[in-house]
Amino acid sequence: MNRWLKFFLMILIGLALGMVYGWMVSPVEYLDTTPSTLRYDYRTDYVLMIAEIFDSSQDANQAVRQLAQLSSDPPVEIVIQSLAYGSQIGYASEDLVLIQNLATSLQIWQPDPGGLTP
């Protein structure tokens, strides 16, 4: 067999070995993830938590600040997406109401002129 052919064949074998090692044996590990990478059901529960807190605090600024950790999308969109997902997977009606209330409040929410304050 031609030497160059063998050479490139070994490169391909090495490439395969390297990718198997990098993707399967020792893939990149994300230990310090952010809420934005959470799986959708966890994100939805996170939104539910925010809705539960909002239900008693009625602090829209706080809710917006917390929602911002999940996504850069507009807060109301995050909540509406979670509402849809919660409905899809069978959230309790009272939980859906909480999320719905948060969505409704955020639809009329206006940010503070001075920015979000903790």
Binding site: R3, K6, F7, F8, L9, M10, I11, L12, I13, G14, L15, A16, L17, G18, M19, V20, Y21, G22, W23, P27, V28, Y30, L31, D32, T33, T34, P35, T37, L38, R39, Y40, D41, Y42, T44, D45, Y46, L48, M49, I50, E52, I53, D55, S56, S57, Q66, Q69, G86, I89, G90, Y91, A92, S93, E94, D95, P118
Partner: protein, 298 residues
């Protein structure tokens, strides 16, 4: 001999440089493979779990759980959410976070919420979930999806202890906790100072201003906010953050020769002129004691 080798090489029967070129190709290939798999197209974890969150986000998550619990009083849900974080000891993690917050002045005012949840968890530590009798809950009744990497939520059984609940849609038969017996102060009744002792043989550290708060039934009350002031400055701390001592216990590290006043924020008398007691002086070194105050509702 040399001519013979040269002749064989020229015939192609013996590589001029052995088989190193094969190894070189393999190494190059592996390097490219690693570059592709680690740099160019690494495995992407877009569907992560809360236990993989960075520590500060875990703290935020715990605060959210505590806040949500304070709003809903749903302890089963709070416990399930805490389990998602994968802390070996959730109570300890909550306590540690609350103490850290107090150390930095509690800028987010969540130490109380964390202490509140800690106390509730501790109170319910011995309680088991009331699992509905067979037949009322079908097999694999949903409490929450499991922890697999599937996009669609799966189910876990109520009776198993393994598996981490990941989310809590509660349209299902959520386990009902037995009523909590968390001691609480009687509304409106101010606390009185039941005792004020100097402690010189404290097994704990010296220079502590120890506060114990109990209700009229002498049960310790966690989550009681205490205001301490000195020389125009003030700080706040809470009972319940050292449950290993008592749910109604809190302490504050005093500075020698500083005069403190404290008051329970919920109401009660102001105790002033508190200063670290000197228990003994040995070789010119002062052995500082602690002060133990017990507040109780009449």
């Amino acid at each position: 001999m040399t001519q013979e080798i040269r002749r064989i090489r020229e015939d192609g029967n013996l590589p001029r440089k052995g088989y190193w070129y094969l190894l070189t190709g393999l190494v190059i290939g592996i390097l490219f493979g690693l570059i592709i798999s680690w740099v160019i197209a690494p495995v992407k974890y877009v569907d992560t779990v809360p236990s993989s969150l960075r520590s500060d986000f875990k703290n935020e998550f715990r605060s959210q759980i505590a806040s949500a619990y304070y709003s809903t009083n749903n302890l089963a849900r709070a416990k399930a959410r805490l389990d998602l974080l994968g802390d070996p000891d959730p109570i300890q993690a909550l306590t540690y976070q609350a103490q850290n917050l107090l150390d930095i002045g509690d800028p987010t005012n969540t130490a109380f919420l964390l202490a509140f949840l800690t106390s509730a968890l501790k109170q319910n530590l011995g309680l088991s979930l009331e699992v509905p009798s067979p037949g009322t809950v079908p097999e694999n009744t949903s409490l929450a999806p499991d922890n697999t990497n599937t996009a669609s939520p799966t189910r876990i059984t109520l009776t198993t202890t393994s598996g981490t609940p990941s989310k809590l849609p509660s349209n299902i038969n959520t386990p009902t906790l037995r009523p909590s017996n968390t001691p609480s102060p009687t509304p409106g009744v101010p606390f009185i100072l039941k005792s004020n002792k100097i402690v010189c043989d404290s097994p704990l550290r010296s220079l502590l201003l120890q506060v114990e708060v109990t209700n009229s039934a002498n049960q310790p009350i966690p989550g009681t906010e205490i205001l301490i002031s000195w020389s125009g400055d003030e700080d706040r701390f809470f009972t319940g953050l050292k449950p290993e001592i008592s749910d109604g216990y809190a302490d504050y590290l005093m500075t020698p020769d500083v005069v403190y006043s404290i008051q329970l924020v919920k109401g009660g008398m102001v105790v002033s002129n508190l200063t670290a007691p000197s228990c003994s002086i040995e070789g010119g070194i002062t052995n500082w004691g602690s002060i133990n105050l017990v507040f109780q509702q009449p």
